[in-house]
Symmetry: C2
Subunit: 493 residues, 2 copies
């Protein structure tokens, strides 16, 4: 086992530097004074280069080959497979291409921050052209190595094991019923007025509420914290998870649900298998599975009638200076389940969200597979928005194809994770409901049985199983969008 052990020790070493990188990133987003951003960027570049060099150690592929002859158990096999996958993903591209893409991405993203405000597609598309070309080059190289299509290869970076064929089937299924469902829900909600929160919700009180809810949701404050950043995220390490939120004094609704969402990400990280800490096999399975946990917490638990019955009096008690009648269970539920087709993905509700994702999926797939040009994006975007959400984005780049950050640095293949996560979450909940009286658990604020299921079936698995095997073992079938449909129908119709 000499080579296998050596290999593991190399990856554990790399993971220590990645842990440091993660905490430093968190510091950058939450604590660092702005004046030191330039010096910090230099420090981080040095650290990142070091990690890159460790990951490129030419001894690794040799060790991998030798280790395959040494191992015997299926867990060792998984460990080695994940090391191999990690090594391949980070070594298949030349340093030149990686650097060129990083540079082009940074340039495009940086300019995008102002170009988006100015609705300036022409200027944006000049930088974007390079990002697309370099990403196509990357996709081509990865595709050849994996013997698959370029987009499939990119998708594999975020959702290993998922294929364009499977996604096409699933998304085509969703497209059949979603527009109609959205219509029905809108019709229904027309006759259901509610009161919007007004006045001030002091940040101190919002934080108090957030911490209380995190506690109810089992967040381990001995291994993590909650802080503030411009863009909420879940960072840090699995031993020291750092979630963030952004508070708006005029509205607690978004921030509260944001905290619940990030708590889902956090509990997945906190629940990963200790035995494989520092190894690829001990990490989160995929972006889709990660999002399934945050969406399980946000959508399956957080926006359920039962959980809102717990949130409503808590909010009323914490924001007691606010005399509005918004804190009834009924009103809060209406707020948290409002459906409204709109332009912006990140503000979208649970029902219209998949439309935003399918639109992006279809475009980025054709872009990577060179079926369309980056120039065609605004027109395709407008057509699809009209078709899926009945909204036109003609000339409205800002709220159309320029709204997201993901493409600016070439993260093509990431978007499906969001809707995969929503579907996995619904499927998990359907399974759990067959085994546990979930409504009773939620009503009694006894969430432990639910978390126990998630821990046993998802968190503790780390990356020891392929995604499809995780889903199969947990729910006795592969990903099935029917559960997501049923979830939406039962909540919204």
């Amino acid at each position: 086992m000499k080579n296998y052990f050596k290999l593991k020790s190399i990856y554990k070493k790399i993971s220590k530097f990645k842990n440091i990188e993660a905490i430093m990133h968190w510091d950058q987003a939450t604590m660092m004074p702005s004046g030191s951003s330039e010096a910090r960027a230099e420090d981080m570049a040095e650290l990142s280069l070091h990690i890159h060099q460790l990951s490129k150690n030419p001894i690794i592929p040799e060790l991998i080959d030798l280790a395959y002859n040494e191992i015997s158990t299926s867990e060792e096999q998984s460990c080695l497979n994940e090391i191999k996958r990690s090594w391949s993903n980070s070594n298949i591209l030349t340093d030149d291409l990686v650097q060129a893409k990083a540079l082009a991405g940074a340039k495009c993203e940086h300019a995008w921050r102002t170009q988006r405000e100015e609705n300036d597609w022409i200027s944006f598309s000049q930088n974007f052209k390079t990002v697309v070309e370099l990403s196509q080059e990357e996709a081509q190289i990865r595709a050849e190595a994996l013997q698959t299509t370029p987009y499939n290869a990119m998708l594999n970076l975020y959702e290993p094991g998922m294929s364009t064929n499977e996604l096409d089937n699933i998304f085509n299924n969703i497209k059949c019923w979603l527009p109609n469902l959205i219509n029905q829900v809108q019709q229904k909600q027309q006759n259901e007025p509610y009161i919007k929160p007004e006045g001030t919700f002091p940040i101190k009180q919002q934080k108090e509420m957030g911490l209380k809810v995190m506690k109810t949701l089992g967040f381990d404050f001995n291994s993590g914290r909650l802080d503030i950043s411009l863009h909420p995220f879940c960072g840090g390490t699995s031993q020291d998870i750092r979630i963030t939120t952004r508070y708006d004094e005029n509205d607690f609704i978004q921030s509260l649900m944001g905290i619940i969402h990030e708590t889902g990400h956090a509990r997945y990280e906190q629940g990963l298998p200790q035995k494989y800490r520092g190894l690829p096999a001990g990490q989160a399975r995929s972006m889709g599975i990660h999002e399934s946990q945050s969406l399980f917490f946000e959508m399956q638990i957080g926006r359920s009638s039962e959980f809102i019955s717990y949130l409503a009096p808590l909010a009323q008690n914490i924001f007691k200076q606010n005399k509005q009648k918004i804190f009834t269970k009924d009103n809060l539920k209406k707020i948290y389940t409002r459906v409204q087709p709109d332009y912006i993905r990140v503000d979208a509700d649970e029902v219209t969200y998949p439309a935003h994702i399918i639109l992006r999926y279809e475009i980025e797939k054709d872009l990577m597979n060179k079926k369309v040009s980056y120039k065609d994006i605004p027109e395709i975007w407008d057509l699809k928005m009209k078709k899926y959400l009945n909204l036109s984005t003609k000339g409205n780049y800002k709220n159309g194809c320029m709204q997201d950050i993901h493409w600016t640095d070439g993260s093509f293949g990431y978007f499906p994770s969001y809707t995969l996560g929503a579907m996995y979450a619904a499927q998990f909940m359907a399974t759990i409901k067959n085994q546990i009286d979930v409504n009773e658990c939620l009503s009694q604020k006894n969430l432990a049985p639910i978390f126990k299921w998630l821990s046993k079936n998802i968190w503790e698995k780390g990356s020891l199983l392929e995604t499809n095997d995780v889903i199969m073992q947990a729910t006795n079938e592969s990903l099935n969008p029917q559960y997501f449909k049923e979830h939406l129908e039962s909540r919204y119709l």
Copy 2:
């Protein structure tokens, strides 16, 4: 200049990892949840090992030799000298000795935390024996390389250029007048009653006050922050300085002056020469000079009548719920200049502090030069405490020779820095008063001219000059304890 540039780039790279180490240490002390301390220790050990390996790069001594033939200016000479000093200091010991000392130090310090509470000298001295022996070994090796005595070699780590002879002279001078001065001050203060602060001083208000004072003292919040930690320190990087304090709700006195002290350390770091960022020549000159800046802020500015005239109404305004008559200039001044011989160094006032240092200096000097055994320390401590401060520590190890953390990990040679700092600070202020109407500046809260002097004469010099040259150029003479004496006499008699 090829080799010179190569050398500089190696040291700049090392400094980037040291910057990361500094921010991570700050995080550990201020932000990190306790449950992740073990995993974090592993991450930090890996980072520290990496820095160690970079610093041991065997190409460095060759490059140094070659670079000496390339350089021409005196600044390049200084840069190279400091690189050489840094390299020698960290390479003269074998890895085995460094590791053995680190282990013995960590063990001794860890056990000391409970042994001190339990007044358990016998158990402590068993660990301490090893620390002393390894430190003596270290001192011997460093002494041979520098052609000096063992203690001198250790002193050189913290105060390069200072010698035991010079310190003996200076401390003997202080010993001549200090006991008598302490007596006189005590006699005088007997007849000067004052009101002690009582009641609550909410942490939020204390923080507000601290931030206001830091602003007055020119702290650059664009490149630094103030936070809370168990043991106050000034950490981070010169681009991103992180000072900390500890608040006591029942007393704002200590914390406020602590913030002023750390602000002095911070401004030195923030004022270091940008041109030499990342190079040894761009770093703080010595521990003594560092402490001279914190003590300049705390003792020369902070506890002056003029500055207290500014603090008093500010405190009254901030803690306005407190109806005590403590916030008069006169009362606050009495609090901040109270002299009282006592056992504990860290709680000592400005007048008795040097006695604590001289005692430790005399013991650690003899210990490193093998004139006394670690076993003799309690007895010597008791004798010297009686002589210098008229207090017996017989059997009282906890408040005697076991009170400090410094010796537990073998930091012999560090203690003199504190009193060197106090003397440097007094000498700087005496010089500034010859050039600027300091009292007027302080009364007008126009501190800029004072900071300008410090910046030009101390901060901007980094390590480009030897300590004695800094003092000479700034004050036209070498370190002269007379200024410290005059400062104490004029403030306390």
